[in-house]
Amino acid sequence: MTAPGRSAVIVRNGAVLAPVVPACNHLALPEGLFLALGVLIILETDLGGGVLAGRERIIGTLLGLLAVVIAAGVLGGLSSALGVFVGLTLVRLFGFAAGLTSGFVVGGHMVAGSLMNHGDAWWHYVFWRMVMTILGVIVGVLVSRHIYSQRSSSAWQASCDGWLLDLARLLERLPDSPEPEEAFAALRERRNGLRRRLPQLAAERTLIHGQPDEAVLRAQQQLQHGSTVMSAARDLGLLLKEEAPAAWVPPGLVPRLLDDGRTRIEALVQGRDAPDAVADLGRCRDLLSAALPESPAAPQGDRTQLLIASRLLLLADALIRLPRSPQPQGRADAGR
């Protein structure tokens, strides 16, 4: 997000939060504070991240309620310290069973608030807190979706395109690159970052379309095939430093394939297919497959050559399968 964009989101959040809190007080909503906190949690990130945070918060709150019902209701005779032990232990166990990554902290808040601060009124507290949390998450998601909406999908795609373009540039200078290891390590980090943000993208698209749609599938494929291009290119760089391609590898195939790869990736990022590059990649793949020795269980000396051939085949195949990025026009409309 650009600096002006970030500032606009901060102002949006402040402007939303300012009337929400007095409205809760004015309407005398029981535990209305948690409505405001629910809104805040959602607005602190983009739409996809907000959906995930909201899901964690609601499930964590429900599990917290269940733990409090057991610790304070069913086992009501326990001292507060024993009740806390039971409540906090149960909340974590329930949270892990539900696959939560952070929602168990909210559940712990429910247990601590009920048992330590609300005494006999624990049911009023946990019930209304749950209701207000759900309302807050709903309000937050509505605001996040309709007012100056920050979409995970567009941010993800921009990052992915940047990653692919840097990969294309690395392909271009691969044979002679002085420090490819560091460049590949940086690309790997960015790939891992994209992978970590995929659930946000899926959550956002599911919210909008009711299920993960073709945008999620395309993102997964871009990551999968882009990742293969990166690994194959990295291995290839190391192998070519060890040995030049053997005589049975069609002459000029390595620079041709790398050049096609760069052309193809640059076109894909611009929303085009580069059919000439695809056709040539296919020809390279066929030529290399036909040139492979009969028995790949070759003696030790030939292994490097076979690994070079294997990585070239992988590279060509992944470049052919890599999907197009959405057109900028489509991206601006993404998810509307």
Binding site: I10, P19, N25, A81
Partner: protein, 264 residues
């Protein structure tokens, strides 16, 4: 999504949190009747916020909580000296975000800071307490967080280096299963597992145990593991006719790794 049974490690974590909360509630009770009930909530919630998946994560979260609470509390308390109406919440939020970003605070710290805007300005009693509310909340929270981190160290503690060894064993098991043809892992799963392993390694490198990884043997061991993994991932991806080449290279890397691990 269907519930899944917690792992033994998760069960231990749950018991640790429960015990930390038990201690926190006990300390609050021992402090006597002069202490407010809400302080009991702060200290127990501090314990509940601790004991995250790794000690490093617990420490970072605790730091973000304390710094965020103090920073956000200070900004809001100062703001309320000048502004008392509903606008204060919006202005407080914007001020905290802008100042916090300028100071380079992490997103987690900022989140804790902006929560203070709501907590102070949405509850009149908190606003009346002003700075004392911030001090009281921070102090009891800190106690709870420290209790949680102490319990984390006392029971079933695994040092970063031990966790790295556990992680390496797990990764080797997955690669062995792949070579044996009994694995369901695809390239993505293997890459993800290696990413998690590298995160543990990064934690070791940031810890006082970093020198344990500094010697050449450990470096070679890491390189051998990475090589084995690269060939394992390639095995899943390459055409079947070339798979045996990567399988062979993967086995060799594993043999090298195991001989390095066995070396004194």
């Amino acid at each position: 999504m269907l519930p899944r049974p917690p792992s033994p490690q998760q069960i231990r974590n749950a018991l640790q949190v429960g015990f930390a909360g038990f201690l926190a509630a006990g300390i609050h009770a021992a402090a006597g009747p002069d202490v407010n009930a809400i302080d009991g909530f702060y200290v127990v919630y501090g314990a509940a916020r601790s004991l995250l998946p790794t000690p490093e994560a617990s420490r970072e979260a605790a730091w973000a909580r304390i710094v965020g609470t103090v920073f956000g509390g200070a900004v809001v308390v100062l703001l309320t000296q000048a502004l008392h109406n509903w606008l204060a919440i919006g202005v407080g939020y914007v001020l905290i975000q802008l100042l916090g970003r300028r100071l380079g605070l992490s997103p987690a710290t900022l989140m804790n800071a902006v929560i203070m805007t709501v907590l102070i300005l949405a509850v009149p009693a908190h606003e009346r307490m002003g700075g004392m509310y911030v001090v009281d909340r921070t102090g009891w929270h800190l106690l709870g967080l420290l209790l949680g981190m102490a319990v984390e160290r006392l029971f079933w503690f695994r040092s970063p280096l031990q966790r790295l060894e556990d992680s390496e064993r797990g990764l080797l098991g997955r690669i062995d299963a792949l070579l044996a043809g009994t694995s369901q892992d695809g390239a993505e799963e293997l890459i993800s597992a290696y990413g998690a392993h590298c995160a543990v390694r990064a934690a070791v490198l940031r810890s006082p145990q970093a020198q344990g990884l500094a010697n050449e043997g450990m470096q070679q061991r890491h390189e051998a593991l990475e090589q084995a993994l690269r060939h394992a991932v390639a095995m899943v991806r390459v055409p079947a006719v070339l798979r045996s080449i990567d399988a062979e290279a993967c086995r060799e890397a594993l043999v090298r790794l195991r001989s390095l691990a066995a070396a004194p």
